[in-house]
Every structure is written in structure tokens, then in C-alpha cells.
């Protein structure tokens, strides 16, 4: 594998996760539990779209030809998308969204913190910028975890179930292949094994404050995103998201 191809692939993985979770968060627009929270959820969505645009553009530049952030976002199929499975999980109820995002935020927080030191300038700049945003996301969602897990009987039961339901999708975030190997060697990518223990600590810390139990690491984990093998949900998301550019090809919007 060429270095350039590995870099494109690595950038797409991060960009796709931000894009797909951003799209999920946009679904909350006008559906939030309070007006204030509606605004906060849109904010998170906007941050994620911004992150995704930065790396989609980078991948497009590396690819050359006529690729752009939009060709990459709107003209790739499910099997050509490499977002972590957890990001495409449906919003469910508010607690499901909070738990899903919390697991992913904690991952991004440690990943971007490390990525700041990447030898690749764009990825380092991306880490720097995105870390600020994801720090806020992580705080926002951690606070909700603690609130919901110490709220009413209903909210406690709901959040416990969300944790059980979403946990099996956390393993996929840490999967690595030859792309990672090549880029880790060049000090461009981050060894996700080093992220995993930090991630575990963050989860433990917040769950302790929330009186929640961290599920067993022996739970069988879903995987596939590195190879573009997704849940059934992603196809529907792309069908909706890509509708206009697919229905009216070769037009400017």
C-alpha cells in the first residue's frame, strides 16, 4: 500500500464518522427535549459537519482528479463509507443518543489529543481544532449521563438499557489494519491500543459518578467498518442524504 492511499483511507475514516454522526445529530433538530437542548444538539451536529468537511477536503485533494468534499460525501456507496459503526446507530430516545455520543466523544477526545502530534500537518491541525469541540461534546454528554443515571427511576432504567444496547459497538472504534500500521510507523496515525486504556478510564470515571456499571469487556463486539461493512442503518441514511445529487447529477447547488 502506498503512503498516499493509506493517508486517504485514514482521513476518510475520521471524516466519515464525523459526517455520519453529524447527520444523526441533525435529526434532532426541532425534536429536542427542551429548546436549549435542541440548540446544543444542533451545535454538536455543526461541529461534526465542520470536522468532516476538513478531512473530506483533505482526502479529496490527495485523491486529485475532480474529487471534492461533495463528491466524497454524496457519491460513495455504503461499502465505500468507513465510519465507525457506533456513529450510524439510530438516535433512539434521548438517552440512547447521549450514551452513543458519550462513548464516541471519549474516543475522539483521546484520539484527537494524540493526533495533535501527528507528523502530518493537516491531521495535526485537525486534531488541534477538533479537540476543543469534542471536549465540549464530551462534557455535555458526560453531564447528561450523570443526570439521567441519577434522575428518576424511569431515566435510570432507560440509561442502563442504552448502555447495554450500545456497548457492543464500541469495539469497532479500536479496530486497526495495515493502513494504521503503515501510518503509525511514520508517526502520522495513532496506535488505537494506546487510546483504548485512556478511553476505558474516562468511561469508568464518568460511570462511577453516574453510579453506572461498566459492561464486561468480554461482550462480543460488532466490527466491520474498516472494510466498509455496516449495519443496515447506513444505507437508509445515505439514501436520504445523497438524494439530490444522485437524482440530479452534474448540477451546481
Amino acid at each position: 500500500m502506498e503512503l498516499k492511499d493509506a493517508l486517504i483511507q485514514y482521513s476518510l475514516r475520521i471524516a466519515d464518522s464525523s459526517l455520519i454522526l453529524g447527520q444523526r445529530m441533525a435529526e434532532w433538530c426541532s425534536n429536542g427535549p427542551t429548546l436549549e437542548e435542541d440548540i446544543a444538539l444542533s451545535n454538536i451536529s455543526l461541529d461534526l459537519f465542520g470536522q468532516s468537511r476538513m478531512l473530506l477536503s483533505y482526502a479529496a485533494d490527495l485523491k486529485g482528479n475532480d474529487e471534492s468534499e461533495d463528491t466524497l460525501a454524496f457519491h460513495r456507496n455504503e461499502r465505500e463509507y468507513f465510519n465507525c459503526l457506533i456513529t450510524e446507530l439510530p438516535n433512539g430516545h434521548f438517552g440512547d443518543t447521549i450514551v452513543r455520543n458519550f462513548f464516541f466523544d471519549a474516543y475522539c477526545y483521546h484520539l484527537y489529543n494524540a493526533l495533535k502530534e501527528s507528523k502530518d500537518e493537516t491531521l495535526a491541525a485537525f486534531g488541534e481544532k477538533s479537540l476543543k469541540e469534542v471536549t465540549y461534546h464530551l462534557r455535555h454528554n458526560s453531564e447528561w449521563i450523570i443526570r439521567l443515571a441519577n434522575g428518576t427511576e424511569e431515566s435510570i432504567n432507560k440509561i442502563k438499557q442504552s448502555v447495554i444496547d450500545i456497548w457492543p459497538y464500541t469495539g469497532d472504534m479500536f479496530a486497526m489494519d495495515e493502513v494504521d500500521e503503515l501510518l503509525i510507523e511514520k508517526s502520522i496515525a495513532i496506535d488505537l491500543n494506546t487510546i483504548k486504556s485512556k478511553w476505558n478510564n474516562t468511561i469508568k470515571e464518568v460511570f462511577e459518578r453516574a453510579n453506572l456499571e461498566v459492561p464486561s469487556i468480554d461482550v462480543y463486539m460488532q466490527t466491520g467498518s474498516l472494510k466498509g461493512i455496516h449495519t443496515e442503518h447506513l444505507g437508509h441514511m445515505l439514501g436520504e442524504m445523497q438524494y439530490i445529487p444522485r437524482a440530479y447529477p452534474n448540477m451546481e447547488w
Binding site: 429548546l35 436549549e36 455543526l46 461533495d70 439521567l148 445529487p245 440530479y248
Partner: protein, 310 residues
């Protein structure tokens, strides 16, 4: 001087009425109704645009549209807070919206059926709203006037966003131009209906004008919107769907055709294409969020108790 004389004196001298000032009951009620209706419009208005966020055709368009809707949520929040200074809670206002006691701008009871509608909504609907809101910056109630100043700044950005979408389509392929024209055809009349009934038929305007809540009449605002918008449509090469539209040299304004008031009143009364859908959506989100709000309250209460105990 009596309270009423003091109040009238302030109005006459263009001194703003502030929350703690004495005001006539009807003045207060009029503002509660108008400001909450304004807030509700911002919130319900999120839905027709939210309808296209997930399907925006470019990343840039998606981000701009979502940011715009977020601004509207912010405007709603701001206006609810301003309306709360009149002694009624946001919860009560929202209950009035959900039970149909309070209204919101009828324009949001029309569906957004294509991407071009995002252009039409920004260009026409926000355009009409700005004409009204610019005038309201001088309204007599202080918190309302100040919220309008702030909101107008963002609204002009929204209108440009809409105009940009429609302009791109109008200059695009024949299919895109057709899409833009279709959006204009559907949104033109509802947009000019946004200014409300003719002055002669508007039973609420009279007091509001005396109190300087309202500074310009419905018809005057409508005319100023039409005069501003027609040249923009011409520039875009789009046709305003009104065969009677014609420049009147003498008046220095456009004459225009008769508004379909039967449609207007029906949409106001709840018979528009999306009235039920919009309220249902709002109620559903509110109900789905109930357990979350309860949990947050329970948590806050527990935290307070812990603090107290220590």
C-alpha cells in the same frame, strides 16, 4: 399624574415601556399574544426547513441551513424570555401553542416540497419577516424592541442565504430553474399573506397603532415588501405568479392582484396543508422529552439536598 397618564406620556414621547412599568391590561395582553406568537413562529418555522437539512445537496448548504435553523431556535428562546417579562411563563405560552389557543405565522403551515423551497423560504418568508421586524425595532415595549434589533441582524443573513439558493437554481439547468419557479409560484401568495388582513379588516391593529406596538399598517408593510421583491425576481429571471402585478407610476409602487382571503382565513383557522402536522410534531417532541426534563429536575433537586445536608 395617574398611572395611565404616565403611560400615555411615555408613549407620546417615544419612551420605551419597561417590564416593571405600569401598563394597561390590554397593552400587556396584546403584547403577550403578539410576542408569544412571534416566538412560536420561530419554533414552528424550524420544521419546514428541518425537513431539508438531512437532504441538503452540498456540505456547505447543509451547514448553512442547520446554522440558520439553530439561529431560529435561538430567536425563539430570546423571544420567549422577552415575553416572560410580561408575567407569563414559557410553559404557559407553549401550552397555549399546543392547545391551539395561540397562533404562529400561517406561512409555516405550507409544505416545503423541494430544495428550491429552502431558497423561497429564505428569500420570501424571511424577507417578509424582516420588513415587519425592522419596523418592530421601534416598538414601544423595551424588551421586544431590543430583541428585534438583535434578531434583525441575523435575519438579513438568512434572507441572503435564501436568495443565494434561489439565484443558483435560477441560473442553473432548465430543471433547476423550473424548480425555482415552482417554489416561487407556491410561496409568493402565502408570503404576502404574512402581513395579515387589509387594514380595513384588521380589528386588532387600531389599539396597537395607538400604543405604538405596531408602527406601520399591514398594507403599508406588504407594499414595501412587494416593491422590494419584484425587482429581485426580475433580476433572477423568475416570474411572480400574479397577472395583475404592474408598476404604478403615480403611486411609485406596484399594483397587485387580489389576495385569496378564503385561503388565508382557512389556514389561520387550522385548515392549511400542515397545521395539524406542525402541532403534532411539536407535541410529540415535547412528550418524548418529558422523561428527560423530569430526570433533570429530579437530579437538580437531589443535588440541592446534598448541598443542604453538607
Amino acid at each position: 399624574m395617574t398611572d395611565l397618564e404616565k403611560f400615555n406620556d411615555k408613549i407620546a414621547n417615544n419612551i420605551k415601556i419597561e417590564p416593571k412599568d405600569w401598563m394597561p391590561d390590554d397593552y400587556r395582553k396584546h403584547l403577550q399574544r403578539q410576542m408569544s406568537q412571534h416566538a412560536h413562529s420561530e419554533i414552528i418555522g424550524m420544521q419546514p426547513e428541518g425537513n431539508w437539512v438531512l437532504r441538503a445537496p452540498t456540505m456547505r448548504a447543509k451547514v448553512i441551513l442547520l446554522a440558520k435553523i439553530q439561529d431560529e431556535a435561538g430567536h425563539g428562546l430570546y423571544l420567549y424570555s422577552a415575553a416572560e417579562t410580561l408575567g407569563k411563563s414559557r410553559d404557559t405560552y407553549i401550552e397555549e401553542l399546543q392547545t391551539g389557543k395561540a397562533k404562529y405565522s400561517s406561512i409555516f403551515n405550507y409544505p416545503t416540497l423541494s430544495w428550491a423551497d429552502m431558497g423561497a423560504v429564505g428569500w420570501l418568508v424571511d424577507g417578509a419577516a424582516i420588513v415587519n421586524q425592522v419596523s418592530l425595532q421601534r416598538t414601544s415595549y423595551g424588551p421586544y424592541a431590543r430583541s428585534m434589533v438583535r434578531i434583525c441582524k441575523e435575519e438579513s443573513f438568512h434572507q441572503r442565504q435564501g436568495y443565494e439558493i434561489i439565484a443558483t437554481l435560477a441560473k442553473g439547468t432548465p430543471k433547476q430553474k423550473e424548480m425555482a419557479q415552482d417554489a416561487l409560484n407556491r410561496f409568493w401568495w402565502p408570503s404576502i399573506m404574512m402581513f395579515g388582513p387589509h387594514d380595513a379588516d384588521s380589528y386588532r391593529s387600531s389599539n396597537a397603532m395607538e400604543w405604538k406596538i405596531k408602527l406601520e399598517s399591514n398594507d403599508a408593510l406588504r407594499q414595501s415588501f412587494i416593491d422590494k421583491t419584484v425587482p429581485q425576481a426580475e433580476l433572477l429571471g423568475l416570474t411572480i405568479p400574479d397577472p395583475d402585478l404592474k408598476w404604478n407610476e403615480e403611486r411609485g409602487s406596484y399594483d397587485f392582484g387580489e389576495i385569496n382571503w378564503e385561503e388565508f382565513w382557512n389556514v389561520v383557522k387550522g385548515n392549511g396543508p400542515c397545521n395539524k402536522q406542525r402541532i403534532k410534531h411539536h407535541v410529540k417532541a415535547h412528550e418524548n422529552g418529558k422523561w428527560v426534563r423530569e430526570a433533570a429536575n429530579a437530579y437538580a433537586k437531589k443535588q440541592k439536598e446534598i448541598k443542604k445536608a453538607s
